[in-house]
């Protein structure tokens, strides 16, 4: 019974996705209604998940699914983030598709499906389950990225993402097979058991883990698999970019953290590699972000940098006391700010995403003070200025790095965030210190504007009351 209750949110999302698929067949289906429905499903799933967190004291279900799925405080937090991301994405989509007319009902159904994949991925305790979840998520996301069939940039984006994504999926399969060859099981706990008595440098294990990590690095856009991010983020519609940047990253990080935290031995043998990948991801991302003139591409590049910070937390994972709190907190902090940014972009962008470059935002503070203020809050949070959530997230990550003895990594993380100040401040400078060149007329009140304000409040709330820890 407990198992079923902890499964409830997933059931709700899944049902929602199927119902919306059915609704799409109905001749009178309207996408606006569909967006409200999916909003409802996400909200219900979120609260169901909250209920699970609060009431179920023994939430692991190893028996029910033969150890394929498992739930812990960390996965619960990750699921909460995914549902919240889904909810706010539908809010922004609702506004976005008033001006841009290419959405159909299936759009929202796919959004729910990808959320199902994400939730499964963060719960996965076994590599084949993880692969299936990864594909459920990815297939839905591919379609969502390329939803605007009329736009060549969108087509380019889906093409790049699909081809590379297919490769990474194949790598994941390959890695799973090799790990199975070495350890004789695809279950995380069995692999961990095997690793406890065998060296992690056995060729099969080494190769398997290598392929697995390639897929993961591709999905979280870590160096050197980050090149696709800019074009794909830029080509997809604002709400979807926000969803990809946040929910997808959360799910993949949850999965890899679960995997690495269990297999301490494997983690030890990869730690130097992870160290350098974290460093290159941060600095590579920064270098790309500095050169961008387009806000969306800048945020995409800064997403690479944030993956780098999360990798610091992965390096610092201590398998004995892993609670995942640092990672979960940072993901929450990062998601709130990024979603807020894209909600604001969806709202201000208007038809065909008119306002995307730094120059387009000149003087926004004079015409739309509230929008400018919320964007400034999100940017300051991403930059890690207190008392925002972003600061606390960074603080936890650096603390965990230093207490794990990785002082050099902590210092490099800080240097990277000093560099990142430049491009975050640049947008604030555009909005506040220049005169307005246009009127920034956007139609009245919209759901995206409400979600922008709600997320801005959340930035402070999460920052001032870090209850997760």
């Amino acid at each position: 019974m407990h198992d079923l209750v902890s499964f409830l949110p997933l059931v709700i999302t899944c049902t929602g996705a199927l119902l919306l698929m059915l609704y799409a067949v109905c001749p009178k289906a309207e996408q606006e209604k569909a967006s409200l429905m999916s909003m409802g499903f996400f909200a219900v799933a979120f609260f169901a998940q909250l209920l699970v967190v609060c009431t179920v004291s023994r939430p692991l279900f190893p028996e029910t699914f033969n150890g394929m799925l498992g739930v812990s405080g960390f996965t619960n937090a990750a699921c909460l983030i995914v549902y919240a991301c889904g909810f706010f994405t539908t809010l922004s989509s609702h506004t976005y598709f008033r001006e841009n007319h290419f959405a159909t009902v299936e759009f929202y159904s796919l959004l729910l499906f990808s959320a199902v994949g994400m939730v499964l991925l963060s719960m996965a305790r076994e590599l084949i389950t993880a692969f299936i979840a990864l594909e459920i998520m990815s297939l839905a996301i591919y379609v969502l990225v390329g939803f605007n069939r009329a736009s060549s940039r969108s087509t380019e984006a889906i093409f790049k993402y699909l081809i590379l994504g297919a490769f990474s999926g194949a790598f994941f399969c390959m890695g799973t097979a090799m790990i199975y060859g070495a350890a004789g099981s695809t279950r995380f706990d069995s692999i961990a058991e095997w690793l406890a008595f065998n060296p992690a440098t056995t060729p099969l294990m080494l190769g398997g883990a290598f392929f697995l990590l390639i897929t993961i690095f591709f999905k979280i856009s870590a160096f050197p698999f980050h090149a696709w991010v800019l074009d794909v983020y830029d080509g997809s519609s604002n709400p979807i970019t926000g969803f990809m940047a946040t929910a997808l990253k959360t799910a993949v990080f949850a999965m890899i953290a679960n995997f690495l935290a269990l297999s301490g031995n494997l983690h030890d043998s990869w730690i130097t590699g992870l160290f350098w990948i974290a460093v290159f991801t941060m600095f590579g991302g920064n270098l790309i972000a500095i050169g961008q003139d387009n806000v969306k591409r800048m945020i995409a590049a800064s997403g690479i940098v944030h993956s780098g910070y999360l990798l610091i937390a992965l390096v610092a994972i201590n398998s004995e006391y892993f609670s995942g709190a640092v990672i979960a907190y940072y993901l929450a902090a990062y998601s709130v700010a990024t979603l807020g940014m894209f909600a604001a972009l969806s709202w201000l962008g208007g038809e065909g995403e008119k306002r995307v470059t730094f120059d387009d935002f000149k003087g926004l503070a004079k015409r739309q003070p509230l929008a400018a203020a919320t964007i400034a809050v999100f940017l300051l949070s991403m930059a890690g200025i207190p008392p925002t959530a972003g600061f606390m997230g960074k603080f936890y990550i650096i603390t965990s790095a230093i207490s794990a003895g990785q002082i050099a990594l902590g210092v490099l993380g800080i240097i990277s965030s000093i560099i990142s100040m430049w491009y975050y401040l640049r947008l604030i400078v555009s909005m506040y210190f220049h005169d307005a060149e246009e009127d920034f007329i956007v139609d009245g009140s919209s759901l995206a504007s409400i979600s922008t304000v709600a997320l801005a409040v959340a930035v402070f709330a999460i920052g001032l009351f870090p209850l997760v820890l």
Binding site: L380, S403, I407, I414, I418, M421, F433
Partner: protein
């Protein structure tokens, strides 16, 4: 005094600042700001009177915030922070009284800035300190960027990136210190008093020490970290220049005394002479740079930097006299150099110029203004009877005790300050009246009453210094004793090892 006085003092301006943003009435922002700062002033004065000068923390407020890392929302005042706190509480109402009306966002920023500065001064927990320390910068960023002069963009970016770089590195230092405590005692804490049980040196501690020092050195600023200053001070609106010079720079000094001295005693002792020499170089360098300036505000920027050098010297000389002198000079510098920025702001408002060559003979037009200006300026150069004399005298005395040569050098360097300020005064207030100066009008009654208290403070501090010094001296003695304790332990340990041989 009621228990949560400090909390009120910090959050009243912040909350009021946030509310002002939404207030529709035109003139209400300034008046609200003024009254809020008056309330803060009254609390500040009351705290000063109630402070008993025993050396320990008083008015302590402590409540857990993030228990898993032992972070408390901890506030308190002791002799080290008392005068800085008093300065930022007493001088702040001035920015709402004088100068022409600005938009409400400007006043909201100023209030936020005051709250954050008071928070940084009172915080007894390193994380809380750091948070307020960073928030302080946000209003400065916006006020310079929105209301600054023609070259404001470059100035804003420069000050922001410079100070953020410094303070982020300090964050690593903070976490490192707490982590050392965690390793030694097995618990997480960021409480200053508990952390000062550590005395770190060697290995990464040397780097952590430099991270703290650089963060504070940028804020003060100490040569060669001063390059953001002339731009920022010159381009900022007068009220912001005043806040930067009078209060914010002082928090850098305060941070150095509060955090670097106890945590890194050994490191500090071995680096002290180096930083002392940097202070002297800064004084001479900025002094010489000031002589050649045509823009009064730019000259004052260099003047402020030059006089911050002597405060830093006082810390580096590491004895009771010099440290007391530095703490005293913090208040003295704020009432003199800081206030000069407001005077220049008034001048610019009336004449639309700050160019020394375009001015002349202001003293005939505006005798009251000239008198006030002269008093602040003479206090700045350290004329006996004014507040500046006491501080500088104590610092030089302490430095002579530390090293005769460096002490004398510091003393002679002060003469440079006298040169450029008096020369500027002569060119602006005397000589032939220029066309521009003819438009100048003297201070209004309101302005006279705004500045009068400052003038009284300058003389009061100069004539009755003991009233202030007696409150801070016990804490200074404690701090100095604490600073030398680890070094003495080491000496004792070395002696034993020698006798063993």
């Amino acid at each position: 005094m009621f228990e949560s006085a400090l909390t009120v003092m910090i959050f009243l301006p912040i909350v009021a600042g946030a509310l002002i943003l939404f207030c529709p009435a035109k003139g209400a922002a300034r008046i609200t700001g003024f009254f809020v700062s008056l309330i803060v002033l009254m609390i500040g004065v009351q705290l000063f009177i109630d402070f008993d000068g025993q050396g320990g923390m008083q008015f302590v407020y402590n409540t857990p915030w993030i228990p898993s890392l032992g972070i408390n929302f901890g506030l308190g005042v002791d002799g080290i922070s008392l005068l800085v706190l008093l300065t930022s509480a007493v001088l702040f109402p001035l920015v709402f009284c004088v100068l022409k009306e600005q938009s409400r966002a400007f006043y909201a920023n100023l209030l936020l800035c005051q709250g954050a500065m008071l928070g940084a001064i009172c915080a007894t927990d390193l994380v809380v300190f750091y948070i307020f320390w960073e928030i302080m910068l946000v209003p400065i960023f916006f006020t310079i960027g929105i209301y600054g002069g023609p070259r404001r963009l470059a100035a804003t970016m420069k000050i922001t990136l410079y100070t953020i770089a410094g303070s982020l590195l300090m964050l690593v230092g903070i976490i490192y210190v707490a982590n050392c405590y965690h390793q030694q005692f097995g618990v997480w804490t960021f409480d200053m008093a508990r952390l000062s049980a550590l005395s770190l040196s060697g290995g990464f501690a040397g780097w952590a020490f430099l991270m703290f020092m650089i963060a504070f050195a940028i804020k003060i600023p100490i040569f060669p970290f001063h390059t953001w200053l002339p731009e920022a001070y010159t381009e900022a609106p007068p009220a912001t220049s005043f806040v930067l010079s009078a209060i914010m720079a002082k928090i850098g000094v305060y941070g150095m005394i509060r955090f670097v001295l106890p945590f890194f005693a050994l490191e500090f002792i071995s680096w002290a002479t180096f930083f002392l020499v940097l202070g002297i170089i800064g004084m001479i360098y900025c002094g010489i740079a000031a002589i050649g300036q045509k823009d009064i505000k730019r000259m004052l920027a260099f003047c402020s930097a030059s006089h911050m050098g002597i405060i830093a010297i006082g810390i580096c000389a590491m004895n009771v006299q010099s440290l007391t002198g530095s703490l005293f000079q913090i208040a003295a510098h704020a009432t003199s150099t800081g206030v000069l920025f407001l005077f220049v702001g008034l001048m610019e408002e009336r004449l639309q110029t700050r160019n020394i060559d375009a001015l002349g003979g202001l003293a005939y037009r505006a005798p009251i203004f000239a008198t006030f200006f002269a008093v602040a300026m003479l206090s700045c150069v350290g004329l006996p009877g004014t507040s500046g004399f006491i501080g500088e005298f104590l610092i030089i005395l302490g430095t002579v005790k530390y090293s005769m040569f460096l002490g004398l050098l510091t003393g002679f360097t002060l003469i440079v300050g006298v040169c450029y300020l008096l020369w500027m005064f002569q060119r602006v207030f005397y000589e032939k009246e220029s066309e521009t100066s003819a438009r100048f009008t003297d201070l209004t009654v309101g302005e006279v009453f705004s500045f009068l208290p400052v003038m009284i403070i300058i003389f009061a501090m100069g004539i009755f210094p003991q009233f202030f010094i007696s409150k801070i001296e016990p804490a200074v003695q404690q701090q100095i004793a604490q600073l030398y304790a680890p070094a003495q332990q080491q000496v004792v340990a070395n002696e034993i090892s020698v006798t063993d041989k």
